[in-house]
């Protein structure tokens, strides 16, 4: 009688260092958070800051995109708590969360990459969409669906379209408005958009 084998057989040799892996991802996020675009990121800079050989990076990720995708994936999108009382208040909370991200050093990575490197690195975007964008979209969809249920929004509302309008407008300001964003921007957006979506 033999000892029970583990389900996935452990390969021979020294196991990969979790410490190295973490250091690499930390270094990557640090550099992105410092304002570096994906294209400017150099593997050598990451390896150096992580105190790691380049091989240790290439062994895990075959290119920069995948490394960045994994790095960003570790940043759970921290959604704001929603009061759940009125659709209007919850939407304002969600839009506010998008704005505030711009100033938080680590979570800023998400915005940095989403805004800058989106369609240059499609594979990155695909993975990134799942962990960072979809949860936010889903939260907003949820609010909109609830609004339809409570009758605050019209029954034939295209939920996807509603989300696009609200998020797209917020991003437009984030990206192309001159000067700082006004404090009450989310409120004003919702008040302009909501009447068109209401019953």
């Amino acid at each position: 009688m033999t000892i029970q084998e583990p389900v996935t057989a452990r390969p021979a040799g020294r196991p990969r260092s979790e410490k190295a892996e973490k250091a690499i991802i930390e270094a990557t996020l640090d550099l992105i958070g410092d304002g570096m675009g994906v294209a400017e990121l150099s593997i050598e800079a990451i390896a150096s800051r992580a105190g790691v050989g380049k091989t240790t990076i290439y062994r895990r990720w075959s290119n920069k995109e995948e490394l960045v995708a994994d790095a960003l994936a570790t940043l759970k999108a921290p959604l704001p708590p929603l009061a759940g009382v009125s659709v209007r208040d919850d939407l304002i909370s969600l839009l506010n969360a998008m704005r505030e991200d711009k100033d938080r050093s680590r979570t800023r990575c998400v915005m940095n990459v989403m805004m800058s490197d989106a369609d240059r690195y499609p594979a990155l975007m695909e993975r990134f969409r799942k962990v960072a964008i979809e949860p936010r979209k889903e939260a907003m969809r949820e609010v909109l669906r609830r609004g339809i249920g409570t009758g605050e929004l019209r029954a034939d509302l295209d939920v996807e379209m509603g989300m696009a309008i609200l998020s797209g407008t917020m991003i437009w300001y984030t990206k192309w408005a001159s000067g700082d964003l006004p404090e009450d921007l989310p409120e004003r957006i919702v008040d302009h958009v909501l009447p068109g979506l209401a019953a």
Copy 2:
């Protein structure tokens, strides 16, 4: 009575070749149009394709950003002709123009860069905003103002906000929707947004 001398006298030495300048900008746009991002662009590739020495580029532009900005600045944004009958139709035309640009090889440059390289190269964006984005924004503002005048839109409408909602939504789809954009997307956006802006 003598003729007034021009304020800025012609500088000494051989004047810079307009031909070379054009060739450089053509080459730059060709490469961007071929799908190359600003980061992937190499000055050597531009010089080679333009049949020009690297010096001739560096003499005029001190870095890639400024070259790309000038190159894009030569692409006048070709606004669609507006029927001027109804606000709804004109807005649909303008949104359609944003989408169609993605497929026209040369003008595609504008979208390529605007979408990908915007905030990695802020100086680029600043110059680019003036020649490519502002005219489109102004055209849309004009339509909205006309709508207020004719009573199609409510009198207290925030024109800037209206523009942000329409353009932002369109860009949201362009960038983050999965799959191709539906033929009637501009129409559907306008129909979801307009009721909120109407009188």
Copy 3:
């Protein structure tokens, strides 16, 4: 009792390739042998002919001088066999060796550089002196000392001066005589000089 560790431990990382080093030096000598002066030598040409990246050259030598010095240092001066019978015959052999070097393709490097680039690149010269000039000087000194011992040369002869006279005269002809050197030049030099040095 343990074995003594070597004083300088092997440095970390992949060791430098001896093959590359050899290829670089071969390429350098080839190009010099083809009549190229040190100033005309381009690192890129060497790298290309050696099938090597420029970095691999700069990693080893910080400038052309040092590379050329090392390259020439690999060319051991092939001294002619000396009969050892009479001082006169041996001196003629040594002078002949200086002349013949001019025509052998690889060893020609030595003369090329010694004659052309000597005091433009003093560091080069210093290293080169040790491996290429000194052995020849020493051989000639040896012959002269032997001559003093056998009484063929006068006892108070300044060996260094004797060497300078013989070599200097030969080089003078090599460098500034018009036309080809006569076959019996070494013989004639020795016959003009030796009487002054003889007992």
Copy 4:
């Protein structure tokens, strides 16, 4: 009856500026005197130091060699006055002149170029030989011939060979001796060589 034409008709147009020509040659000699080898000399540096356009240089000389040759040709070889009493004293004077040149800033050009750039630029050397080397050789030949006449030197002396021995030895020390040259070097050379040439 017509006015007497000058022998060489003056061509139409603005005549070449002698001032520019002088400035160019001065600048060239300055740079060579500052220790710059012919290969390191850049036309642009000469033009800049002379306050002259590059065209003005290329109009007169088709390459660096010819410019340097002409520049050096303006430096008349300043031969030492010879006492004419004994062959020994005159030869010592001539050898001393070779050594002293090394320290005089402008005349140093002659040595610099003769020693360093001789056979890399054969055309240069050819012209240079005429104005700088030949007069010195001729002076030495003259002394040797006089010595044959007075019976101080043997009648069958090869004058050319005598010259080669004396000059070659001196240059050998100049070039390859370590440390400074001893004050009495010319004297010692002559005393080692002369017995072999004497009657």
